[in-house]
């Protein structure tokens, strides 16, 4: 039987694959991918090789830099990024969680000094019991990713 692509191929851009089902929309929102007016194709709840469902995002004429790719790991630790040129994959890499994330998330601790001062937030990424947690550089508290409204 001939395989049929469920998501249309793109000429130039980035394909984010192996996104856990349910995270695709969050990624679009977090990275404001729709703001650039480029064509975006999104597949939600697609069948995946391991019998689990996955989301997939194709963004035309857009490249993820390393910092964005690392932040992407907070949503989809096993995601792959495929860079496409002339309908061909010219580069493929796995995301990896960064050791530190600055100026991205507000600290969930309302009494953290980072809310009141002219400074960037700063978190250390920790892996505890196969969960990603973020530890605030300032208040030293460790938070589950679910406590960050930006990741929700």
């Amino acid at each position: 039987m001939k395989k049929k692509l469920q998501v249309e191929a793109i000429a130039h851009g980035t394909v984010i694959d192996h996104v856990p089902a349910g995270q695709g929309i969050k990624i679009l929102k977090f990275f404001q991918l729709s703001a650039a007016q480029e064509r975006i194709t999104v597949g939600l709840n697609l069948p995946s090789g391991d019998q689990q469902q996955k989301d997939l995002i194709k963004v035309e004429n857009t490249a993820f830099d390393e910092n964005q790719a690392n932040q992407l790991a907070l949503f989809a630790p096993n995601a792959t990024i495929n860079v496409i040129e002339d309908f061909e994959v010219v580069r493929k890499f796995h995301v990896s969680t960064p050791e530190q994330i600055k100026a991205v998330f507000a600290c969930p601790n309302s009494n953290c000094i980072s809310h009141n001062e002219p400074i960037d937030s700063n978190f250390y990424v920790r892996h505890q019991q196969q969960e990603i947690k973020l530890k605030c550089h300032y208040c030293e508290k460790t938070f589950d990713r679910g406590l960050f409204s930006e990741l929700d």
């Binding site: 601790n109 009494n111 953290c112 000094i113 980072s114 009141n116 001062e117 002219p118 400074i119 505890q128 019991q129 605030c136 550089h137 300032y138 208040c139 030293e140 508290k141 460790t142």
Partner: protein, 310 residues
Amino acid sequence: MNNPLYQKHIISIPDLSRQELELIVDTAQSIKQQPRPELLKNKVVASCFFEASTRTRLSFETAVQRLGGSVIGFADGGNTSLGKKGETLVDSVKVISSYSDAFFMRHPQEGAARLASEFSSVPVVNGGDGSNQHPTQTLLDLFTIYETQGSLEGLKVAFVGDLKYGRTVHSLTQALSLFGCEFYFIAPKALAMPDYIIEELNEREITYSLHDSIEEVVDELDILYMTRVQKERFDETEYQHIKSSFILRANMLEQVKDNLKILHPLPRVDEITTDVDITPYAYYFEQAENGVYARQALLALIMTNEFGAQ
């Protein structure tokens, strides 16, 4: 002479290595035995209390004066132009550090001391930042434990009371875990040790156990560290039910080890009955006095190069 703490900030116990903790303890003992009244002569130390804490402030200021230094500062940030005019902490720190050779600070917000250390041109000592850290309390606790036991190595240490909110307990556990101590956590379930501390202990393969009452373990201990179970965390009926398990009375000390010492960060309310005070095991008032020696040691180390590993 190698003093790794010279001109360093003291913000959080996990920042300090075992060797640095030992250096502070050794220096505290040295200063207690042989006072150094001119060590900080001509040095100015700023005492910046953005919220009131009389006991800690007096202890720090006594430490400076006993080393011959001068103190400037304020006892309540709300009554200063810093608080009233809305200046940022960052700007306040830049100015204060230009006036002084070091400063210690208490602030109601978590992370304030870390932030201050990033904008200060002189060493900053954290005197408590919200519910986060209070490292000098831990240093005086360590010094007291060393003084009473002759070592910090491999001790059996129980913590009793409010282990959930007690930053003192969290920091001391982190520090003592560097010395292979064994822990007994005795608390109501609602006030149990937080998960992050337990996870740290698991990662380091430190031995600990959880208990419902002091009697279960008191006979095995070298150190019994009491804290207050705060009444306001429970309804009245529940509090009456649980409190008896977390009150230490003299008649519970009949079979304890000779070297047992009972510590408490103070103030005490009713979690240690006064009949314990006259036993040879009570050491909480000496512990409070040791706060001055521990803070003297810290200031001496960060402001001078007089002490250090040979």
